[in-house]
């Protein structure tokens, strides 16, 4: 069974975006000045190698996500650090909408369905792991619907101060199980978590 992975950059204070002008919480803002250390780049590319599908939010597609990474791939055709950009162009993309999207994008399947049904359709079609890229609202909705199998957070060593979050007060009784944590030379901590189900929590309690 394929899984849905959410991968996001997050600040050390738990925000995925800052509303403070000039905030430098993010080591890399996805622009041309890529300041991640080699170990983070390698981790990022290795993750993409195993991805069979990409779930995107409609706003990200509308804002030119695919065009941007296609340009980056074209600018770095032989650079192993930019393997992920070429991979974005290669794999099947999915966008789920409940509002009847009639636009089209290259190698992208538009699924007009409720979120949970649409995600399931995307996973089935991809025949493998699907990674989600979206804004805070989209990821929050996926978490709210309990659709995320793995949460992969690139915790930046910078403070956002104020901004958008993927978690909210309705999730205050939820817990996650740490799968793996990797420290990196540039200071990013890569954490991978799965949702801790009630049965797992009970087992942990019995074992202690």
């Amino acid at each position: 069974m394929s899984g849905l992975n959410v991968q996001m950059q997050i600040s050390i204070d738990g925000f995925v975006g800052s509303t403070i002008p000039g905030s430098t919480w993010q080591l890399w803002d996805w622009g041309p000045n890529w300041t991640w250390s080699a170990d983070v780049k390698a981790h990022f590319n290795a993750f993409f190698d195993g991805v069979r599908g990409i779930l995107l939010s409609r706003p990200m597609l509308a804002e030119g996500y695919l065009d941007h990474w296609q340009r980056v791939a074209d600018q770095h055709p032989d650079d192993p650090d930019y393997r992920f950009a070429r991979r974005i162009g290669e794999v099947q993309k999915f966008v789920v909408s409940q509002h009847g999207v009639d636009a089209s994008w290259p190698s992208t399947t538009v699924i007009n369905a409720p979120l949970a049904d649409g995600v399931l359709q995307a996973q089935t079609a991809a025949k493998g792991d699907v990674v989600c890229f979206g804004g805070a609202g989209f990821v929050n909705a996926l978490l709210q619907h309990d659709l995320v199998d793995e949460l992969q957070l690139y915790i930046n060593p910078g403070v956002a101060g104020e901004g958008s979050r993927i978690f909210d007060r309705t999730m205050a009784t939820e817990n996650y199980q740490l799968v793996n944590a990797t420290s990196t030379k540039c200071g990013i901590l890569i954490g991978r978590w799965t949702k801790r189900r009630q049965s797992q929590a009970a087992e942990a309690g019995n074992a202690s």
Partner: protein
């Protein structure tokens, strides 16, 4: 030169307590399993008899406790994020040790 470091348990979304703190509720409102991850009991803490920690957090808390309780705290420094192999073998090493950019200057 004295170094001041701060070790805090924080939730995934960046909080260190719930709201409405008072002396009877030092972590704030009761009702959510805040910091319950500290009770996974995969690895008993070397320093606190009643606390069982998950394997990732046990070494960190033990290290912090050792620094705070030693008679010569100046001799201790936080290990780097990526310790050399011998260092990792011989003593507990925190998985995370952030310092501010200011402190690094």
């Amino acid at each position: 030169m004295t170094k001041i470091f701060n070790a805090l348990a924080t939730s995934m979304d960046g909080y260190i307590t719930r709201t409405h703190l008072d002396p009877s509720q030092p972590l704030g409102d009761i009702g959510s399993p805040f910091l319950d991850w500290n009770k996974d009991s995969e690895k008993p803490s070397n320093q606190f008899a009643d606390v069982g920690l998950c394997s990732a957090n046990g070494p960190l808390l033990s290290f912090v406790s050792a620094v705070l309780t030693t008679s010569t705290p100046m001799a201790h420094e936080l290990p780097p994020c990526r310790p050399e192999p011998a260092m990792a073998r011989n003593r507990p090493t925190p998985r995370v040790a952030w310092t501010t950019r200011t402190a690094l200057k």
